[in-house]
Symmetry: C2
């Protein structure tokens, strides 16, 4: 262990002016000019820098502290960027960013004018493969090894995957293929015992990474202390020189070198800005999040219904199931980063009379799409999917926006798809889902819920029935979920412009409230759909499908996400950027009503 691994929060890192060697590194080739024996000093400076960055700006934190030595060793041993280091997810790659020309940028990480929180090919020639969802690095690296060989390019490719990400099925698929091909892919198995939360799985329990790697046909090169840089360098050199597909286990500690994070790496996985001396975080007085409201509503459902169990794919914090577990500790399963299994495991439980609720982010549930079709909907099993992070997510950017779920879910027969406009509707829709005996998907966004009062008990709502929130005669907004607020506000503004706009909460994207929508279409002749979802195949398309058949004379204008990936940045700015804020809606609807074009 290096000195940096111990001591209190203050003593571990030098002041800014003590990072001279780090400041001399603009590219890894600068690092490679530094003598081997001086590298521990570079690592200490890098760690200090990362702590400083986290303290000032927040962000993903503990993972990158654990990979400081590994990052230095990889860029020193390999001829990057000709050789390729493929980081998985990216939570642990802040050090990589710092050594590859983005040291200053890290202070604006996840902001619209700063680097991505993950890896992005567009961001740097050192980011060889974009990341964000877990478990992709070995597949990508193996593809590169094969592709480079075909292209006649002699290069090394290293995948760095955490033991958490290694619980994903696709990482197994890739390792199994690598062991079959035997081609020269290098895998660093970064073993810190953690996913975001403590890691789960039989492999984590046995710790037999050697047996796992060997069974799949990889050369297992043993394990090394990932904070003992001299030993690590030697091990990485052995990895570089291995004749075929090889795996090195590197033991690291998440949060290494910052005592509060070492003590509680779960809580310090990501952080708000904090005081370096005390570890105290700056607090924000945010209203309850949708996530917390979901967790509380689920808790109430579990109170009254023994059949309710909750599943997470390694995101107990992000999904609120840690909060739920405080109330019902024996009703939660963390299955690992294993969305495919999560869905079918839930289906199996439903066969035994349970009412499983899979709490999975919208974009991560894309991993379980086939299982939703094949194992849940086809069999009409009563599994509820709670899709947190639907719509735009802000700083996590394009890999994490949940803008495709309505398109891929509403095509699935038998599935009910709904979205609440506030936390009170959320609890009622959750009750609807659990008590419906049907496959049911419920989407809600990231961030603060509107803050409305809750009815004392969650009560099932009629499936396929919306609610008229505002009367109007010239046009009608038809929407669901978060955009309801913007539609109500736009309707107010349009009133001032002499236009009377109704607002309906459709509540369900499938089945639609056909009567309500057709009635509004007939009454006003002009419908406006709004959704925090791709326009292609989304809620507005469902409305068009209905009206083409039932009220073809009605005119419809649709607002939603454009046919492009939205970059990371401030959530409110993103909302404006795509024109879903009340002012944009007002302006575009006004222009449309005056016949000035559709404004899309």
């Amino acid at each position: 262990m290096l000195d940096t691994s111990t001591g209190n929060a203050r003593s571990q890192h030098a002041p800014e002016d003590g990072r001279a060697r780090l400041r001399s590194i603009d590219e890894p080739e600068d690092l490679r000019k530094i003598a081997r024996e001086d590298l521990p000093g570079v690592a200490a400076e890098l760690r200090s820098e990362l702590i400083d960055i986290g303290a000032r700006g927040g962000g993903h934190f503990a993972g990158s502290l654990g990979t400081v030595e590994l990052t230095v060793a990889l860029h020193w041993v390999f001829d990057t960027p000709h050789d390729r280091v493929i980081w998985d997810v990216g939570h642990q790659a802040y050090g990589h960013k710092a050594l590859t020309g983005r040291r200053e940028g890290l202070r604006r990480i996840k902001k619209s004018d700063g680097p991505s929180g993950f890896l992005r090919r567009a961001e740097s020639p050192h980011d060889h493969f974009g990341a964000g969802h877990a478990g992709t690095s070995i597949s990508a690296a193996l593809g590169m090894v094969e592709g480079a060989a075909r292209a006649g390019v002699d290069r090394q490719v290293v995948a760095v995957i955490g033991d958490g990400a290694a619980t994903s099925g696709m990482s197994f698929e890739a390792l199994n293929h690598a062991g079959h091909l035997g081609s020269r892919v290098r895998v660093v198995f970064n073993d810190n015992g953690m996913s975001i939360a403590p890691n789960v799985g039989g492999l984590n329990r046995t710790g037999d990474v050697a047996g796992y790697a060997k069974a799949l046909g990889l050369d297992y090169l043993g394990e090394v202390d990932g904070h003992d840089l001299p030993a690590l360098l030697t091990a990485i050199e052995a990895l570089r020189d291995a004749p075929g597909a090889a795996l090195l286990r590197v033991r690291t500690r998440k949060g290494q070198g910052f005592a509060p994070a070492e003590a509680d790496p779960f809580r310090w996985h990501a952080t708000a800005p904090f005081d370096q001396a005390t570890g105290e975080r700056k607090k924000s007085a945010a209203p309850p999040s949708w996530t917390a409201c979901f967790a509380d509503a689920l808790g109430r459902m579990a109170d009254r219904d023994e059949r309710v169990v909750a599943l997470t794919a390694a995101m107990p914090d992000g999904t609120g199931l840690d909060r739920f577990a405080e109330r019902h500790p024996d009703r939660v399963y963390d299955v690992g980063i294993a969305e495919q299994h999560a869905v079918t495991f839930a289906a199996g439980m439903a066969c035994e009379g349970m009412r499983p609720v899979c709490a999975i982010y919208s974009s991560f549930l894309q991993r379980g799409f086939d299982q939703i079709v094949h194992d849940v909907a086809l069999q009409q099993l009563p599994v509820t999917f709670a899709l947190d992070r639907a719509g735009l997510v802000g700083g996590d950017g394009p890999t994490h926006h949940g803008g495709l779920d309505l398109a891929y879910l509403r095509a699935i027969p038998h599935l009910v798809v709904a979205a609440p406009r506030d936390e009170n509707q959320l609890q009622h829709l959750l009750a609807t889902a659990v008590e419906s005996d049907r496959p049911f998907a419920l989407r809600f966004p990231r961030g603060a819920a509107p803050g409305v009062a809750l009815d004392p008990d969650p009560k099932p709502l009629p499936i396929g029935r919306g609610e008229l929130l505002r009367r109007g005669t010239d046009l009608a907004f038809v929407t669901l979920g978060k955009p309801i607020a913007a539609a109500l506000s736009a309707a107010e503004q349009l009133e001032g412009l002499g236009l009377s706009a109704a607002v309906a909460d459709a509540r369900f994207a499938k089945p639609l409230d056909e009567e309500l929508i057709c009635e509004l279409a007939r009454a006003t002749g002009r419908l406006v759909t709004v959704e925090d979802h791709a326009l292609a195949g989304g809620f507005g398309s469902a409305v068009l499908e209905l009206l083409a058949e039932r009220v073809p004379e009605a005119r419809v204008i649709r607002f939603g996400l454009p046919d492009d990936f939205i970059e990371h940045g401030d959530p409110d700015e993103q909302w404006q950027q795509v024109g879903l804020d009340p002012e944009s809606l007002t302006e575009r609807v006004h222009a449309w009503m005056r016949g000035g074009g559709c404004g899309v």
Copy 2:
């Protein structure tokens, strides 16, 4: 080995009247009345019956011959259906069907009045979990173990998974979770060295199933000869009595007991009816399949472009890549039943300048949805997806129809989505895809291609440009892919009814040929979309989206798959059932034009 394992095709099975014991078994409880020492005789009769069924009616064949003894042992040792045996996929479960009241039905398997080729909960109380896609059994079984425990029901649950299906990531996810929970799930690892084709993967190469199972925290109970029924019974009893999550490796031979199938289990995975004495199959004089045409077109592309490589997820025969491999043996990767990895592996190759073509059935590519979004489209990497079995597939039924791909693919930014109307267009669209430098999906159906002449060379077509195939003034069919033929035929019939119908091949579902479609909409005022795809979010919806914006006064009627799962049966009957045959189209369009309702 039992006697049944050797000898020629004729000597292995008794005539029908020699299967008295088998005929006495209507339910597994009848089997359990038979003495242990008489079970080998039952197995011999069952095998004889399965060979007879295959010879007369065809179907999946070699897999179930390999599991005859296993099937007998499981139903004899466990108290089915109270105890649950969960078969993976179902190719190997014909014997299970025979012992659970469906012996006679098997002679009509996959026909509309016969049982499914896979498992179906609706079909029998012994089919505890539907199957079709590989690797789901352990997840489902583990869910049932946990669910039953919560419900206070004491039951055993056994998952039977082949070594081929075990290459799927979700089976790893489930095993890893089982090893973590330690709950009493039983896994039979049916190891015959085969997927449909010879199995691949590092685990297959090392054969270290013991190491794999132990590393994931399961009790490994050793291996047993799956055709030695006395030994197998003892081993299954040990599995039943294991204290926690346990795995038993059962070595079987695919095709066991029918010499031609033992000699070539790949070719005998599924079969047409055949002569039991000679093994000779009844031939059909079918025109070239879409699959073969795809394989040939891909071969021509690879001839002229060094960058072209082809990927299959364990379906070299079904996708035509075996045929392609005859021409380009070093340009094919079989990655195992690993669609997630296949997509990202292809993305990695594309990073090195390759032009990978992933040949994956439409319904199986649902497994790779997230990777298409996250690793291919977001990074705009030039990977081509060739989706065979798009639309209705006939006998394989609801798990295998490819009726969701347009919905889930066209919402993805940057992706091009196309469908050829014939094999000549197929080769041109494949050239378009490979040479476009864009993420590209190409869907085509199961069955015989139209049989048109091929241009000498595949030539890229302009992306987003369709083709007007027939002029008309009263209405216009706008469609793509296989339904073009029905649309042309319906247009002819409508001519006879006094209606002049244009027919346009849109070619692309994304991007649409906006000019062509808008022009037809303006000229005729009446568009008819036809698709072998779900109506929700499909091609017709894309047309509605366009026209709502550009030609809102046009009327559109959409024909496609209803919002339900379509049962297995004859493909032509399915086509009629959903109203996509020329006669149905003619009738419904005629009614619509006369104002008699939409007919949907």
